[in-house]
């Protein structure tokens, strides 16, 4: 098991390298001039040019990337061009809110999605099934910003139950919970659709298998058959999907955090890109990529736990 994990970590190093390089190259292609940002809008061209040289921006991209990687290897992510704070501290301040948001979205969306999908499979063809599937289609096809705006309109403005600007504090405080409610609802919504659909089809498939008949022939109740021999096996593909979806969730977090002015990694990334804050952009890419890799690692471990056939290979 430990061997597998170490192996996976080794494999993810080139992935991380590739992501960083692509991110670096894309930032170069994007409009905006970091030297101009640093110098200020009124600085004369000679000053901008001097700063450009100081920052090493006049050198070829590959050289710049090499230098960046060298600093990165020493744990130095540079300084934000806008705030002049170290990128590490900016990221550090934003990472906890984002993790909280992820947690608050997934903690209700995954169990609810799985429960909805299972019930839809068990009551296949019923009104409930159709209702669940309609909700999940809506969840899949509605853009996240629309869901955010509708929730703000409904629960923030019309019935002002939840605040919709900023973060109220850590998750375990009442204000923290109230502030995270709407962003977490929005993010979770886009999660429920795929998870419930996948669970439904997976459970339906498993319930047709021979071993389920064996379970019935043991005299188990229908509930035991469905939970222990249906859902348990059906979760294997669902876990894979959840892992992939968390990747999309990171993307969704960018939009959600921006709309709710929630001080997380996503909003930090958008701000950094819009203001050509080159080191900070690169830093957020690094964190998001690391998050993605970590989630995939967890999925792989879970997968082996759920399916004993995987461990032996």
């Amino acid at each position: 098991m430990i061997e597998t994990i170490l192996n996976r970590i080794l494999v993810s190093i080139p992935v991380l390298f590739g992501v960083l390089f692509l991110g670096f190259a894309l930032v170069q292609l994007a409009p905006g001039d970091p030297a101009r940002v640093q110098a200020g809008p009124t600085a004369p061209p000679e000053v901008v040019e001097q700063i450009r040289q100081e920052m090493g921006l006049d050198q070829p991209v590959i050289v710049q990337f090499g230098k960046y990687m060298e600093r990165l290897a020493h744990g130095d992510l540079g300084r934000s061009l806008i705030s002049n704070k170290s990128v590490t501290s900016e990221l550090g301040a934003a990472i906890v809110p984002t993790i909280e948001l992820m947690f608050a979205s997934l903690i209700w969306a995954i169990p609810l999605g799985i429960a909805m999908g299972t019930l839809a499979a068990v009551w296949r063809g019923s009104l409930f099934d159709r209702l669940i599937m309609a909700i999940s289609v809506a969840g899949v096809s509605l853009p996240i910003f629309f869901i955010c705006l509708m929730l703000i309109q409904l629960l923030g403005v019309k019935f002002p139950i939840f605040p919709f600007i900023g973060r109220g504090g850590p998750l375990w405080t009442l204000e923290g919970l109230r502030h995270i409610a709407l962003p977490a609802l929005s993010l979770g919504m886009i999660f429920i659709g795929p998870v419930s659909r996948m669970t439904r089809s997976s459970v339906l498939e498993v319930l047709r298998l021979d071993h389920v008949r064996t379970a019935r022939a043991k005299g188990l109740t229908e509930r035991q058959v469905i939970l222990r021999h249906g859902l348990r096996n059906a979760l294997i593909p669902v876990v894979t999907l959840v892992g992939l979806q968390i990747g999309y969730l990171l993307g969704g977090a960018v939009v959600t955090e921006t709309i709710f002015s929630y001080p997380g990694i996503g909003r930090l990334a958008v701000g950094a890109i819009l203001s050509s804050d080159f080191p900070l952009t690169q830093g957020t890419i690094l964190v998001l990529a690391l998050g993605f890799i970590l989630v995939n690692l967890i999925v792989d471990i879970l997968y082996a736990q759920l399916d004993p056939r995987v461990q032996k290979k």
């Binding site: 021979d210 071993h211 022939a217 043991k218 188990l220 109740t221 004993p308 056939r309």
Partner: protein, 333 residues
């Protein structure tokens, strides 16, 4: 010995699908005596597996519908039992083995856990005693090193070993009846005979009555005392194995016997029964075998024959019986 543990009476099973109303099983009946092994024989699609699932009440309804009949087990009609009472019997007093050992066990639980689940359900055993009983059962079905195998997952076992686990599972709660639905069909020939030996041996040791569902007359000859021959959802012949194998009377049975490849005669081609089974939705007014029968006449085609006794313990549904065995068949064909 004389007391039947399981009796089927006039069982009718229909399938309603795509507007077809198929009569898959037509008024079949038989008695399974205590301590006996009864073979239920017929070709694919004749309704034998459906019958076994109907006894366990495991047929999905819809599309299946048990239209008439009784399944008497220990003086109760299983078809009238509540689902709760039926669950008590499944895996408890009635065990079942399926055709596909490769897929009949749940891949995500260990073999032991799956046996323990059944012990827990019916015998109330948990923890260490349950585990010990599971090991004992695996030993009973002659799985090598059972104390290790109990923690193995199904994918770590071969097909024959998995079928042994299935047998252990079916026997876990000392059932009065064991239904074995083609238990050896999916296995290699050498493994087949081992599993049959095992079943016969266990049957002698535990006294469990076995309903052996098979399309293989060799299996019947090796394991059964009585046999019921099914054709297209009806019983065409039933009786003791010696009398049916020694003197088959129904033209279908005679055809089946002739179709068994033999080591001692060299013939160019394997014998086969011409024609094919009528589809279950076909309305056949007379004997369902008439279209393929070399002896059939107008009466056979218009009037369905009922079962009648032609010798003690040997019943047959054919207007033509008694037939002088194979020779008469061959002169007609």
């Amino acid at each position: 010995m004389a007391e039947p543990v399981l009796s089927l009476r006039g069982l009718d099973i229909r399938f309603n699908s795509d507007g077809h109303r198929s009569r898959v099983v037509n008024g079949i009946g038989f008695d399974l005596m205590a301590g006996q092994t009864l073979g239920l024989v017929g070709e694919s699609g004749c309704g034998k597996s459906v019958t076994s699932l109907a006894i366990m009440r495991l047929l999905a309804s819809p599309p299946a519908e048990i239209a008439a009949g009784e399944v008497i087990f220990e003086k109760r009609d299983l078809l009238k039992l509540s689902e709760r009472d039926m669950r008590e019997l499944r895996g408890g007093r009635i065990g079942m083995i399926f055709q596909e050992p490769m897929t009949s066990l749940n891949p995500v639980y260990t073999c032991g856990a799956q046996i323990i689940e059944s012990l827990q359900r019916h015998s109330g055993l948990t923890g260490r005693p349950a585990r010990e009983r599971a090991i004992e059962l695996l030993e009973l079905v002659r799985l090598p090193s059972p104390e290790k195998r109990v923690d193995d997952y199904p994918h770590q076992l071969s097909g024959g070993q998995r079928q042994r686990v299935m047998i252990a599972l079916a026997l876990a709660n000392d059932p009065a009846v064991l239904i074995a639905d083609e238990p050896t069909t999916a296995l290699d020939v050498t493994i087949q005979s081992q599993i049959l030996d095992l079943l016969r041996d266990l049957q002698e040791r535990t006294g469990t009555a076995v309903l052996m569902i098979t399309h293989d007359l060799g299996v019947v000859a090796e394991t059964c005392q009585a046999v019921v021959i099914m054709y297209a959802g009806t019983v065409v012949e039933r009786g003791r194995v010696e009398s049916i194998f020694g003197d088959p009377q129904h033209p279908y049975t005679i055809g089946l016997m002739a179709a068994v490849p033999r080591m001692d005669t060299r013939r160019g081609r394997l014998a086969a029964i011409p024609g094919s089974v009528p589809p279950p939705w076909a309305q056949v007014p007379g004997c369902r075998f008439a279209a393929r029968c070399p002896l059939a006449d107008d009466r056979c085609r218009s009037e369905p024959p009922g079962l009648r006794e032609i010798a003690p313990g040997h019943e047959i549904a054919c207007w033509k019986a008694p037939i002088e065995g194979m020779s008469e068949m061959e002169t007609h064909s």
